[in-house]
Amino acid sequence: MYLKSLEMIGFKSFADRTRLEFETGMTAIVGPNGCGKSNVSDAIRWVIGEQSAKALRGAKMEDCIFNGTEERKPLGMAEVSLTLGDCDGLADMDFHEITVTRRVFRSGEGQYFLNKAPCRLKDIQRLFMDTGIGAASYSLMEQGRIDQVLSSRPEDRRAIFEQAS
């Protein structure tokens, strides 16, 4: 399984439809402070099933929806789609390529899709579960979190070991 592309619209500061294509190897994301780099990381963690608004730096999921600027009105919905290649054998998928889509509305209502077919959040979470990718995974390191690996209490630190076994 590998990442092919990410598409965001209305997610945090990505008001307009934005697409990133991923190659194999290393992709670096750069730019000035506050321009949206960590928001890309939030989008990826959100679309694969992150349920804690706090882990996405917000107070509620609605904080993920573009809330406007001095010149642009807020939007009513946020949508992120992640396309993965080489998915044969993943969960009970028969697809070679999978697109995971998540939406949230101001009401708090969420919608989830696997290859455009509506599904539940837990279908998405289950898809990634055996790959080592999921909320709080050791492979998804938020800004500032690296020091917590050492500063967390010995009992709390177990979580990343348990994910690996």
Binding site: S13, T18, F22, I29, V30, C35, S41, T131, P154, A164
Partner: protein, 161 residues
Amino acid sequence: TTEMFRRTFDQINANFETMFGKLFRGGAAKLVLVNEEDILECGIEIIARPPGKRLQNISLLSGGERTLTAVALLFAIYMCKPSPFCLLDEMDAALDEANISRFVKILEGFLKLSQFIVITHNRQTIAAAGTLYGVTMPKKGISKIVSMKFRDFEKQAEPAA
């Protein structure tokens, strides 16, 4: 699953000792289960000693040494169970240039197993990337993504006079 956890733990521990030695160019480190009687619930201690120094509590390590130790642990886990992709947001923030160089060399070794997406401000990390995306805000508050080459970054990274 006590068996399974034990096996995974020992493997990560061996990887951790190796990774630490590579990143610090020496020194020693290991993981210790706080209570051998209860390995499915007990805490996990991290013991780390940079080269030439004596063993002390990890709290006394410097900011950069702590990051590098945590990186050694993460890489140790990746060796044990590589994920399809990893997303690292400014992991190099506390590292000096020499340590970033070592970090990047080791990261490159993982690229055949996993895809890496790294968010960074650092030139060496960026120079190692195969693909470079710049995030900008030409209209304040609205993010836009531009595909970039390393030389575009070099121009942009010059602070405004």
